[in-house]
């Protein structure tokens, strides 16, 4: 088996006294789509934020493509970290629940800013890339519009294009459809689905179980800062082996009243 693209190794994340991630270990292979589910407060979003290096970790390591992306601040004697290659911060692309586009910039400037400033890409090249990405997410006619003029679904697709412009090796999606009106969810999921089909490695935190079932190669169930179960979507949804997983899924189905079960 080849080396996994992402290795999360014994990661501990604490906010003062509260432990949010408790020795979490996880590997993701290149091209794999992994969906992370779990109740709120289970640590799934924190896991993504640690991968994106928005949060320091106290213990453990995160490797991306064999390079160190994060190491525990309380670990001592990890002499390997000093000399090991450091992952580039833009190896990881992240899409947020609240889009977080830059409101003072047009859509195309949102996309070209980082390639130009971080990768040193000339303006024309960055714009060609941006137009191509906008076409892929179906927003080619919105290039010169400010984000506030876009619907939530359009903003989120623009945010996906912005993240892709850095050619990340992995894309993180943190509840990206949770802030959207129901009728706009589909267009964002469709964009993510086509991204998965193109072989992008993806870690997706979502409550969209139909998406998880269809698109995920594997589903991880998290609870109270630990990974409870990891398995294929068919298995985890139809025959979860852990009682906690089953209880969570049942609660979820109850709340949805069965109406969206088969979407």
């Amino acid at each position: 088996m080849t080396e996994p693209l992402i290795v999360v190794d014994g990661v501990v994340k604490r906010y003062t006294a509260e432990t949010v991630l408790d020795r979490v270990s996880l590997t993701v292979a290149t091209g794999q789509v992994m969906v992370v589910i779990g109740p709120s407060g289970s640590g799934k979003s924190t896991l993504l934020r640690c991968l994106a290096r928005l949060e320091p970790i106290q213990r453990g390591r995160i490797l991306i493509g064999g390079a160190v992306a994060a190491a525990g601040t309380e670990d001592i004697g990890v002499e390997a970290n000093g000399t090991a290659p450091q992952a580039k911060s833009h190896d990881v692309g992240m899409v947020f629940q609240s889009f977080n586009l830059f409101p003072h910039l047009t859509v195309i400037d949102n996309i070209t800013l980082a390639p130009r400033r971080v990768l040193g890409m000339p303006r024309e090249e960055a714009e060609t890339l941006a137009v191509d990405l906008l076409r892929r997410v179906g927003l080619e006619d919105k290039r010169d519009v400010h984000p506030t003029r876009l619907s939530g679904g359009q903003q989120q697709r623009a945010a996906i294009a912005r993240a892709l412009a850095m050619r990340p090796r992995v894309m993180l999606f943190d509840e990206v459809t949770s802030a959207l009106d129901p009728e706009l969810v589909g267009e964002v999921l469709k964009t993510m689905r086509s991204l998965a089909e193109q072989g992008m490695t993806m870690l997706v935190v979502t409550h969209e179980m139909a998406f998880a079932r269809d698109v995920a190669d594997e589903v991880v169930f998290m609870d109270k800062g630990t990974i409870v179960e990891r398995s294929s979507p068919a298995r985890i949804f139809d025959q979860p082996s852990e009682a906690r997983t089953r209880a969570f899924l049942e609660r979820l189905l109850e709340r949805e009243g069965g109406a969206r079960r088969t979407r």
């Binding site: 833009h90 947020f96 977080n100 003072h104 980082a114």
Partner: protein, 221 residues
Amino acid sequence: MNGSPFGVVLSYLPDFLNGVLLTFELGFVSVSLGLLLGLVLALARRSQYRLLRWPTYAYIEFFRTTPPLVQIVWLYYGLPLLFGFDLGGFGAAAVALGLNVAAFFAEIFRAGIAGVDRTQWQAARVLGLNLIDTLRFVILPQALRNVLPPIGTTAIYLIKDTALASAIGTPELLRVGQLVANETFRPVEALTVVAVAYFVLTYPIAFGFAALERRLSAMRA
């Protein structure tokens, strides 16, 4: 018209114009210095390093809480005495007012930067932008539109505070007004001319900032 009270005062028009020019220069230099230093102070105030934060805090509170008139006098009389370094009247007034207004601008910038949603920092971070680029392209442009009104108001205050330079004999607008009043025995008329001149100097700032604000908010929509 030369017989009327204003006519007498207005015969000093060339002197008034020189005063206007000097007031303008004083205001321009000190506002520019204040904006630049104020931005640096605001960033230092937000720094993760105490060694930067604490002296910045002390600086801001010191200059905010002592009278600008005293600050001008300190620089004008104090510097040559203590260090044998003479800035001259214009220099001492411009530097003192610049250092003073920087403390106010710093607090305004700090509030403006804090007003930008912290998710904007996170978005910039995951895209790999460094701190300077994040400030320059993401945070400051958004902070700027938040701070335009208070920056404009403070700049207008400062232009009027340049009148304090008259205390050390700098022949700016108010000083000219005082001299004319003494020579003509027409203090009310002389000072009214001074007031009109200040209005002419400061109103374009008020107008310009309001226009800029409208333009920026139109861009956003």
